[in-house]
């Protein structure tokens, strides 16, 4: 039995909704506030104890920031070539031809079995001994593309395999030859599946591109090290570099999320 004066369930639904929304908003606000407070405390602490030289930061910040351009350039070019390598690699890994398959498997194994820093040194310092001399920036780009291409090969392979078998069968039943099935039916769908993974790899690439600083490529980390060592102010310069990397990755991740959401919604 329902008491006569009990509120109808319908009428309190909007209130419940509103109060839940308020609680959610408050939670997000507190969580974001925590970031500001922690970061603020650390910075103010360093400043108050005279461990950080703000005038130095103001003087050299712009110079270090100038390295961000090269960081982005190296990352974008490398992810581009890595994607192409990965596509070829995945085709090889899925090929029925044992030689293509072998070459692709060797590539992936070799790259995954050795450190990226060794690969970078190898291209810049070891190849000249056999007569292949490459400038620093192309060396860095080749090493990063080569390395990421191998990891992405496996991602692409998984993406291609994730396209339902029925898609291939339908295309083949229409008389499409193998290559056409791959190019027109499988790859477009596989690409959609792997786009989030490519985004993640790009964020990783932004950070790993700092490794090419060992070739004296004047990107973010190199500039911050250059200034920091000369002036014994590595705390400031590394803070600057870290902050810029952080902002770059957060910004990119934000756009990536939006892209993913749009793709999930859209019908293409």
């Amino acid at each position: 039995m329902i008491a006569a004066d009990a509120p109808k369930p319908d009428s309190i639904l909007p209130q419940v909704e509103a109060s839940r929304a308020r609680a959610d908003a408050l939670f997000r606000l507190k969580s974001a506030g925590t970031w500001l407070v922690v970061i603020g405390l650390v910075l103010v602490g360093l400043w108050a104890t005279d461990n950080i030289d703000t005038a130095f930061i103001a003087e050299w910040g712009p110079f270090i920031f100038g390295g961000a351009g090269l960081t982005i350039l190296v990352s974008v070019v490398s992810i581009f070539f890595a994607t192409i390598l990965a596509l070829i690699g995945a085709m090889g890994r899925l090929s029925r031809n044992p030689y293509l398959n072998g070459v692709a498997a060797l590539y992936v194994s070799l790259v995954r079995g050795t450190p990226l820093i060794v690969q970078i040194y190898f291209i810049y310092l070891a190849l000249p001994q056999v007569g292949i001399v490459l400038p620093a920036i192309p060396s860095g780009i080749i090493a990063l593309s080569f390395n990421y291409g191998a990891y992405m090969t496996e991602i692409f392979r998984a993406g291609i395999q994730a396209v339902p078998q029925g898609q291939r069968e339908a295309a083949e039943s229409l008389g499409m030859p193998e290559r056409l099935v791959m190019r027109r039916i499988v790859l477009p769908q596989a690409l959609r599946i792997v786009i989030p993974a490519i985004g993640n790899d790009f964020v990783a690439m932004l950070k790993d591109s700092s490794l090419v600083s060992i070739l004296a490529v004047e990107e973010l980390l190199f500039r911050s090290q250059l200034v920091g060592r000369q002036n014994f102010r590595s705390l400031e310069t590394l803070l600057i570099a870290a902050a810029i990397y952080w902002i770059l990755t957060i910004t990119f991740s934000y756009f990536q999320q939006r892209l993913e959401r749009r793709m999930a919604r859209g019908d293409r």
Binding site: P164, G166, Q167, E169, A170, A171, E172, S173, L174, G175, M176, P177, E178, L180, R184, I185, P188, Q189, R192, D267, R268
Partner: protein, 277 residues
């Protein structure tokens, strides 16, 4: 056993001629010597218990499944089984030619989700058969009209109902002008209320004289649309003939049992839906 309707003056020459088809999945002997002939304008319905090999058989006819032994001839092109998996380029091309002569419809529709309805329909005609775009679009438009979906040509498959998807798939297959259409339980993935619209289209095709082979559990449809009903059991064709005979007065015990069980389970289902209980 060869399927040959005895008195059928409206049928044309032999389009599908499968001989001695055997299929093993590992040690599992799934098709045990199937001979099947289908003539132009003939509608053949394949019925039988789950696991009797119906799907495997029609997939062998266009080599989505490699028969272990036997041969398939479609419209004059014969391709032998390839038990040693030689898998040569020449043979792959022959299989492609077989597929150009056949259209295949799947339980799960398998429309290309990244293409519009129209693009689904003109992709293969343009890129495989080299049909000029204007002509491919015109043909697709005509066939979409035929399946009642002319207004959906710019939609993406995601936005269609199951019944609409299957009808697009039928139009897509027909755009390649195959000699024979093969259906594997085209309505079994559909909600009950959407089954009718697909069967109506198929029935119309059958009455117009489209050559087709249909694996189905829809007995009413089989009775209406079939020239020939083929009953399969354990990888063999047990009985074949006009629907009145195979469905109405089967000779073989196994066919009788199957139909009896099938019809009674169907009656149970009807009963369960009865609001009175």
């Amino acid at each position: 056993m060869t399927v040959e309707p005895s008195e059928a003056p409206h049928l044309g020459e032999v389009i599908v001629d499968a001989r001695g088809i055997e299929k093993y999945f590992g040690r599992n002997h799934v098709l045990k010597g199937i001979d099947l002939k289908v003539r132009r304008r003939q509608a053949v319905m394949l019925i039988g218990r789950s696991g009797s090999g119906k799907t495997t058989l029609i997939r062998c006819l266009n080599f989505l499944e490699e028969p272990t032994m036997g041969s398939v001839e479609i419209d004059g092109l014969r391709v032998e089984a390839d038990p040693l998996h030689a898998n040569t380029r020449a043979r792959r091309e022959q299989i492609r030619q077989i597929r150009l002569r056949t259209g295949m419809l799947f339980q799960e529709f398998n429309l290309f989700p990244h293409m519009s309805v129209l693009a689904n329909c003109i992709e293969a005609p343009m890129r495989v058969r080299g049909v000029p775009e204007a002509e491919a679009v015109a043909t697709a438009g005509r066939l979409l009209e035929k399946v009642g979906l002319a207004d959906k040509r710019d939609e993406y498959p995601e936005r269609l109902s199951g019944g609409q998807k299957q009808r697009v798939a039928i139009a897509r297959a027909m755009c390649m002008e195959p000699k024979v259409l093969m259906f594997d339980e085209p309505t079994s993935a559909l909600d009950p209320e959407l089954v009718g619209e697909v069967l109506t289209v198929m029935e119309e095709l059958a009455h117009e004289g489209t050559t087709m082979i249909v694996v189905t559990h829809e007995m009413h449809f089989a009775r209406e649309a079939a020239d020939t009903v083929v009953y399969m059991d354990e990888g063999r064709i047990i009985e074949a003939g006009p629907p009145e005979q195979v469905l109405g007065d089967p000779e073989d015990e196994r066919t009788k049992t199957f139909l009896h069980r099938f019809l009674s389970s169907f009656a149970d289902r009807e009963h369960a839906h009865d609001p009175g209980t």
